[in-house]
């Protein structure tokens, strides 16, 4: 068992918990929390793979930074969308939000 596997194991723990939360949670903000967990695991996995193999290490670190930027953008947009949905439906329960309208 090498240290690359150990770091990948940590990121896989985050992946599994994120998927578990994404499927069991019913409100939009809980889903957002799970997606952040998934993105964190992805960043950790990329940095571990880049630092411990012959791949370009600086590319790996920059990729993790790009993931953080994407996570920030995604969180901003989801915040706005959740606000609009909460205003219109008076709930953020994903099972109750089932109407489409123009």
């Amino acid at each position: 068992m090498n240290s690359l596997f150990l770091f990948q194991l940590a990121s896989l723990v985050m992946l599994a918990c994120g998927l578990l939360g994404l499927t069991t949670r019913r409100d939009l903000i809980g889903m957002l929390i799970s997606v952040e967990l998934l993105l964190n695991g992805a960043g950790l996995s990329i940095v571990a793979a880049a630092q411990l193999t012959n791949a370009d290490a600086s590319l790996g670190q920059l990729a993790a930074l790009l993931i953080m930027g994407l996570a920030a953008a995604e969180a901003t947009l989801v915040l706005a969308i959740v606000l609009v949905v909460g205003k219109r439906f008076k709930t953020t329960d994903a099972d109750k939000i089932s109407e489409l309208g123009g």
């Binding site: 596997f5 967990l37 193999t53 994407l70 920030a72 953008a73």
Partner: protein, 171 residues
């Protein structure tokens, strides 16, 4: 140096425990505030992992961006949607929890076996990448990605502002 290397398994175990506990709390806590506290704990554990991988700049950015900014955004979302005391609706029926366990555990098992069998570590100690080299790469070799992430951030912010105006008009 030798003493530090002898300590590293314990540090790894500590960070893994932090990540595991935080992630489980983030996935399973009914109260959204508690779930957020779990998420922040897991993010701090990931920052510790970055430090162990000899990527201190990424660890700093993890603390600044995730723990500092993104978590505050999600707290605002919890506050503004007025979920009573942050409680989320019921976690779902038992069949949903079973489905969640399947969806969470199956990829974990497959990917762990793939990591064990196919991932070969090629470098014994992770290399030192100085921050100025990261900056140089960002502005020369990977300038396209840098510009694209700027555009994505701009579009996301502009979209959020437009959605906010929409909300005010419909009031």
């Amino acid at each position: 140096m030798q003493e530090l290397q002898a300590l590293s398994p314990y540090a790894y175990g500590l960070y893994l425990l932090i990540i595991l506990g935080g992630s489980l709390a983030a996935a399973l806590c009914k109260n959204l505030i508690r779930a957020m506290a779990g998420l922040i704990t897991a993010m701090l554990g990931a920052a510790g992992m970055y430090m162990m991988l000899n990527a201190p700049f990424v660890a700093m950015m993890q603390v600044l961006i995730y723990v500092g900014a993104v978590s505050v955004l999600i707290f605002f979302a919890i506050m503004l949607t007025k979920t009573p005391a942050g409680d989320s609706p019921e976690l779902g029926s038992s069949s949903k929890i079973a489905a969640g366990l399947v969806v969470g555990v199956m990829p974990f098992v497959f990917l762990v076996s793939a990591c064990l069998n196919y991932f070969k570590q090629q470098v014994e100690t992770p290399p030192d990448i100085p921050v100025d080299q990261l900056g140089q790469d960002l502005l020369t070799r990977y300038a396209l990605g840098f510009e694209l992430i700027s555009v994505v951030l701009f579009v996301a912010m502009a979209g959020a502002v437009i959605l906010g105006f929409e909300r005010r008009r419909s009031q």
